[in-house]
C-alpha cells in the first residue's frame, strides 16, 4: 500500500498525469472529444496495426535514450547524439557495401563498425573536455555538426548511388540486413537494444563501476574526494554512449531501406526524444525503458489519432512538452517555501535539484506504468 501511494505521489507519475489532464483540457477547448482522441492514441499505437510501428520506433528511441542515460547517470550530458548516430549509420553502410565476407558476418561487422564509429567520436568530445577544458556539453554538441556534414558529403558525392536523384548510398547487398520478426518491420535490433538496457541495469546496480557512476551523478565532489577520477569516467561513459548511438544508426541502415539516406536517421528527432526520456527517468535503467516506451506510444499513436480523429498529432508533442515542464518545475519546488508546504506530503526527502542528479535508485519510477 505504502509502495503504491509512493508511486502515485512520485513526481514522474504526477507529471505524466498532469500532462494528460492538461492535454484533455486542450482537446475540450478545441471542441474535440478527449476520450476518443486518447483512445485513438492508445489504439493506434498498441493495437494490432500499430504495435509493429511502435516497437520499431521504440528500437531507436530506447537506444538513444540509453545512449543519453549512461553519461547522464554520472551527471554528464552528451548532446552529440545526432553526430554519433549518423557516423554509426555511415560506418555500417560502408562496411555493409564493401565487406567481402559472407552476409551474416558482414551484418555483425557492420554493427560493430557503427558502434566503434559512434564510440570513437563521442570519446573525442570527452577528450576535448579532459585535455582542453571544453565543457562536454559544448564539445559534444559542436562536434555533432561536422559529423553530420561529413556523412552528408559522403552520401552526396563519393558514395552516392549512381543515377539516383536522392543523396543516398547504394542499397546493401542481399542478405546484409537485420533479421525481421515475421512480416513486421521489427528487427533483431530491438533485441539488441533491450539487451543493452539489461546490461545497463546490471552495471548500474551490481558493479563497482556502476556505483562510481551513480555516486558521481549524485555528487561529483563526493566522488572526486573518494578518488573517482572524473576524466577517465567521462571518457568511458561517453564511449559507451557513442557506441549505443552508433548502434542505433547501424540498426537504422541495416533495416529498411537498407542504405544510408542523408537526413533520414535524424529526421524524426529521436535523439531529442531519447534525451527527454532519459531526463524523465532520471537516467535510471528501468525508468528509461518505460519512458522510452511512453514516448514511442505517443509518437506512433499521435499519427494514428490524426488519421482517425480531427486532432492534429502536434497534440502529442504538447503532451510531451507539458510532462517535461512539470518535471522540470518539480525540480525547483523545494526552493519555494509556499510550494514546499503544498508538496510536503509528496516529497518528504530532499528532491534532487538538477536533472544531473537523478533520483535515488529506489525511487518508484520503476512502477511508472
Amino acid at each position: 500500500m505504502n509502495h503504491i501511494t509512493r508511486t502515485v505521489r512520485s513526481p514522474v507519475a504526477f507529471s505524466v498525469l498532469a500532462g494528460v489532464v492538461i492535454g484533455a483540457l486542450f482537446l475540450v477547448g478545441t471542441g474535440a472529444d478527449p476520450v476518443a482522441a486518447y483512445g485513438a492514441v492508445l489504439g493506434g499505437s498498441l493495437g494490432a496495426d500499430g504495435i509493429g510501428a511502435t516497437l520499431t520506433t521504440l528500437t531507436s528511441v530506447l537506444g538513444l535514450a540509453l545512449a543519453l542515460a549512461v553519461p547522464l547517470r554520472a551527471g554528464l550530458i552528451n548532446l552529440g547524439g545526432d553526430g554519433q548516430l549518423v557516423l554509426g549509420g555511415m560506418a555500417a553502410a560502408v562496411t555493409g557495401l564493401y565487406c567481402p565476407l559472407p552476409a551474416p558476418l558482414t551484418v555483425v561487422l557492420a554493427l560493430l563498425a557503427g558502434m566503434a564509429a559512434g564510440a570513437g567520436y563521442a570519446a573525442l568530445a570527452a577528450l576535448c573536455e579532459n585535455r582542453f577544458g571544453v565543457p562536454l556539453l559544448v564539445s559534444s554538441l559542436l562536434l555533432s555538426y561536422p559529423a553530420a556534414s561529413f556523412a552528408s558529403w559522403l552520401a552526396r558525392y563519393p558514395l552516392k548511388e549512381p543515377g539516383s536523384s536522392l543523396p543516398q548510398t547504394r542499397q546493401l547487398p542481399d542478405g546484409v540486413a537485420l533479421p525481421r520478426f515475421g512480416s513486421s518491420t521489427v528487427t533483431v535490433g530491438l533485441l539488441l537494444v533491450v539487451l543493452a538496457a539489461a546490461a545497463y541495469w546490471f552495471t548500474d546496480r551490481r558493479t563497482a563501476f556502476g556505483y562510481e557512476m551513480r555516486m558521481t551523478g549524485l555528487s561529483s565532489r563526493f566522488a572526486a574526494y573518494a578518488g573517482v577520477e572524473r576524466g577517465g569516467l567521462a571518457l568511458r561513459l561517453m564511449a559507451v554512449s557513442g557506441a549505443l548511438a552508433g548502434l542505433v544508426g547501424a540498426i537504422g541502415v541495416l533495416s529498411f531501406p537498407y542504405r544510408f539516406l542523408d537526413g533520414s536517421l535524424t529526421a524524426s528527432g529521436y535523439t531529442w526524444t531519447g534525451l527527454t526520456a532519459a531526463l524523465l527517468a532520471g537516467a535510471a535503467p528501468v525508468g528509461t525503458v518505460l519512458a522510452s516506451f511512453f514516448f514511442a506510444v505517443l509518437q506512433v499513436g499521435g499519427l494514428s489519432m490524426e488519421r482517425t480523429t480531427e486532432v492534429p498529432r502536434e497534440l502529442t508533442q504538447v503532451l510531451q512538452a507539458i510532462v517535461i515542464v512539470f518535471l522540470a518545475a518539480r525540480l525547483r519546488f523545494p526552493r519555494s517555501p509556499g510550494l514546499t508546504r503544498l508538496f510536503r506530503g509528496r516529497d518528504t526527502e530532499q528532491t534532487p535539484q538538477t536533472p544531473q542528479s537523478p533520483q535515488s535508485p529506489e525511487s518508484p519510477q520503476g512502477e511508472l506504468a
Binding site: 555528487s219 572526486a224 578518488g227 530532499q350
Partner: protein
C-alpha cells in the same frame, strides 16, 4: 558588564508566544515562548535540530508558524518576508554574509535604502552616513574599501552597519564568532555590549558556551523544539547550560591522556600549494597532531594537498616512507590514507544517496567487490556493521543520508573513514555543528584510533578540541606553520595569540617554538 538594573524591569523588544511549527516528521517548535527585553543580549542556545533556526526564521518572516504570536515592541506582527521584519526594526546577520564583494563598504551599507539626490544615489552622503554610524557605534571601517578585500571580522561589521543604517533596534546574529579569531570575537562583543547599552537588543544564536557566559545577559535553551531553560547568565554555569542542552550532565573540555608516538607515518617537507608555503611537519603512529588556526589560513588547502585533491607546487610528502607528492587520491588511499573532510554535506557524503551507498564509498573497490562486481547484499551488510559499530542512528541502510541529523551524518563519515584502518587519518573539523553528545563519541573514536597505533592529523577551529585531543599543536597563520607546542604548553591564551599572527603588539606574545619533529 551585566546591566546593574535588573533586566526584568525593561520592556520587551521581541516577544514570541506559543510558537509551534511542524515540518514533515518533526515538530521543530513546540509552544516556544521567548522574550527579549530592550537593552539585553539574549543568547539562544541548543543542539543542532533543537529548533533555533526555525524559531529565528519565524521571527524574521521566513517561515510562517502553525500557531503562536509574534510581538515586536509591543505590537503584534505577522511578517511576510525579511523586508517586513527589517521595516519593523528587526535585522539579522546570517552565518554566511550577504554582501556584494565587488562593491565598497558604503555601497553595501546603503544598499536598498540609498540616500538620493535628484533621483540618483548620493555617494557622498552614503560615505558620510557610514562614517557617522561607524563612529557612533565604534565599528571602525573604511567606507571606500572594497568588501572583497576585507577580512571576515570587518565584513561582519559591514553587516551590522547595514542593519543599523536601516534602523534595526533588534539584531539577530547567527553563530557570529564561527569565523573570527579570539581577538576579533572580543571586539565584536564589545560592540554588541555598547549597542545593548544604547537600548538595542541582541539575539545571539550560538553553541559556544564561553561566549554566552562572557557576553550575554540571559540565556534561553531549546531542546527538541521546546524551551527547557530560561537562565540569567550571571547566575548560571557552563555545566548547567550544557546539561539543559543535552538533557544530561556532560563533562566539558576533557583533556585526553597523551599517546605513545612510534614511527613517522607522514613526513611533509617544505610543502607549497595555493595559499600554503614552507610547511614542514611530521605525524607519527600513535599520535594526534592538531593544526589550530583561524579559518582561511591555509589549513584546508594543506589538507587537500595531502589528500591528493590539490596539486603540490613544491616540497615533498612521504607516507610510510614512500614519496606520494604527486600521487592521485586513489593511490594515496591505497597506500594507507583516510580523510574526513570539513564539508561533510558537499564533499564527505552524497546526501541524496542512501546510507548504505555512502558507507560503501572507498570500500567499493576493495573489501566489498570481487572482480568489479559489487553485490548489493555486501553493501547492505557492510552498512549494518558500521551503523552498529559507530552507533549511527538511521532507520535503515536504505534511507537517504539527507534524513540523518548532522551528528549522525558525521558519525557515518568518520565511521566509514575509520573502517579503512588506514595508517594516516586526516580529519577536518570533526565536530563542527555536531551535538554535544555526539562530540564525545567522536572524540572517543579518534582517541581509540590513535591508541590503536594510527597517525592522526587533526584540523579544528575549536581550541578546546585541539587541546583535548592533540599530542602536539601546530598553529597555521597566513599559509605557514608559525608555531608548534607540546600538549602541556598549548594553553588557550598562547594558541589564541599565535592564531592571530603571533600576538603582534602584545608584549606577552610567546616566541614561537621552532617546528621540529
Amino acid at each position: 558588564m551585566t546591566p546593574p538594573s535588573p533586566a526584568d524591569a525593561r520592556a520587551a523588544a521581541v516577544e514570541l508566544r506559543g510558537i509551534a511549527k511542524r515540518f514533515p516528521g518533526t515538530l521543530a517548535n513546540d509552544a516556544v515562548d521567548l522574550t527579549v527585553r530592550r537593552g539585553e543580549i539574549h543568547a539562544l542556545m541548543g543542539e543542532n535540530g533543537a529548533g533555533k533556526s526555525t524559531l529565528m526564521s519565524v521571527l524574521y518572516g521566513m517561515v510562517r508558524p502553525d500557531a503562536g504570536s509574534v510581538r515586536v515592541d509591543g505590537r503584534e506582527v505577522a511578517f511576510a518576508d525579511p523586508g517586513d521584519a527589517l521595516a519593523a526594526g528587526l535585522g539579522m546577520v546570517h552565518q554566511s554574509f550577504k554582501l556584494f564583494d565587488s562593491l565598497t563598504v558604503a555601497e553595501n551599507v546603503v544598499y536598498a535604502a540609498e540616500p538620493r539626490r535628484f533621483g540618483l544615489v548620493d555617494r557622498g552622503a552614503a560615505r558620510r552616513r557610514v562614517r557617522e554610524l561607524a563612529e557612533e557605534h565604534g565599528l571602525a571601517v573604511d567606507p571606500d574599501a572594497r568588501v572583497g578585500d576585507l577580512p571576515v571580522g570587518l565584513r561582519q561589521r559591514v553587516e551590522i552597519l547595514k542593519l543599523l543604517h536601516r534602523g534595526a533596534r533588534t539584531l539577530i546574529l547567527d553563530e557570529p564568532t564561527a569565523v573570527l579569531t579570539p581577538t576579533e570575537a572580543d571586539a565584536l562583543f564589545a560592540v554588541l555590549k555598547s549597542l545593548a547599552a544604547q537600548g538595542r537588543s541582541v539575539i545571539l544564536v550560538t553553541h559556544k558556551l564561553r561566549e554566552v557566559l562572557e557576553g550575554s545577559d540571559r540565556v534561553t535553551v531549546l531542546r527538541d523544539g521546546r524551551v527547557v531553560a530560561g537562565l540569567v547568565t550571571a547566575e548560571t554555569s557552563a555545566a548547567e547550560i550544557a546539561a539543559a542542552m543535552t538533557g544530561r550532565a556532560v563533562e566539558l573540555d576533557r583533556v585526553h591522556a597523551p599517546g605513545t608516538p612510534g614511527d613517522v607515518i607522514l613526513d611533509v617537507t617544505d610543502l607549497a600549494t595555493d595559499g600554503v608555503r614552507d610547511v614542514r611537519l611530521t605525524v607519527r603512529a600513535g599520535e594526534i597532531v592538531g593544526i589550530a588556526g583561524v579559518a582561511g589560513n591555509g589549513q584546508s588547502e594543506l589538507v587537500e594537498a595531502l589528500a591528493g585533491l590539490r596539486p603540490v607546487s613544491a616540497g615533498r610528502v612521504a607516507l610510510l616512507g614512500d614519496d606520494i607528492t604527486h600521487a592521485s587520491a586513489t593511490e594515496r588511499r591505497a597506500k594507507g590514507l583516510a580523510y574526513v573532510p570539513e564539508d561533510r554535506h558537499a564533499v564527505g557524503t552524497a546526501t541524496a544517496a542512501s546510507v548504505a551507498d555512502n558507507l560503501a564509498m572507498g570500500h567499493h573497490r576493495t573489501s566489498l567487490s570481487s572482480r568489479g562486481l559489487l553485490a548489493p547484499a555486501a553493501v547492505r551488510g557492510h552498512a549494518r556493521r558500521l551503523i552498529e559499530r559507530f552507533g549511527i542512528k538511521a532507520a535503515s541502510p536504505e534511507v537517504s543520508a539527507s534524513s540523518l541529523s548532522g551528528g549522525n551524518l558525521q558519525k557515518l563519515l568518520i565511521g566509514r573513514e575509520l573502517a579503512h584502518d588506514a595508517s594516516l587519518l586526516l580529519v577536518e573539523q570533526p565536530t563542527r555543528g555536531v551535538d554535544i553528545g555526539a562530540v564525545r563519541n567522536i572524540h572517543d573514536q579518534l582517541i581509540a584510533y590513535r591508541d590503536a597505533g594510527h597517525a592522526v592529523l587533526l584540523v579544528s577551529a575549536e581550541l578546546s578540541e585541539i587541546r583535548g585531543l592533540a599530542d602536539r599543536v601546530l598553529v597555521m597563520y597566513e599559509g605557514r606553520v608559525t608555531a608548534s607546542y607540546e600538549k602541556a604548553a598549548a594553553d588557550e591564551r598562547t594558541l589564541g595569540l599565535a592564531m592571530a599572527g603571533g600576538g603582534a603588539g602584545s608584549p606577552a606574545a610567546p616566541s614561537p617554538v621552532e617546528v621540529g619533529d
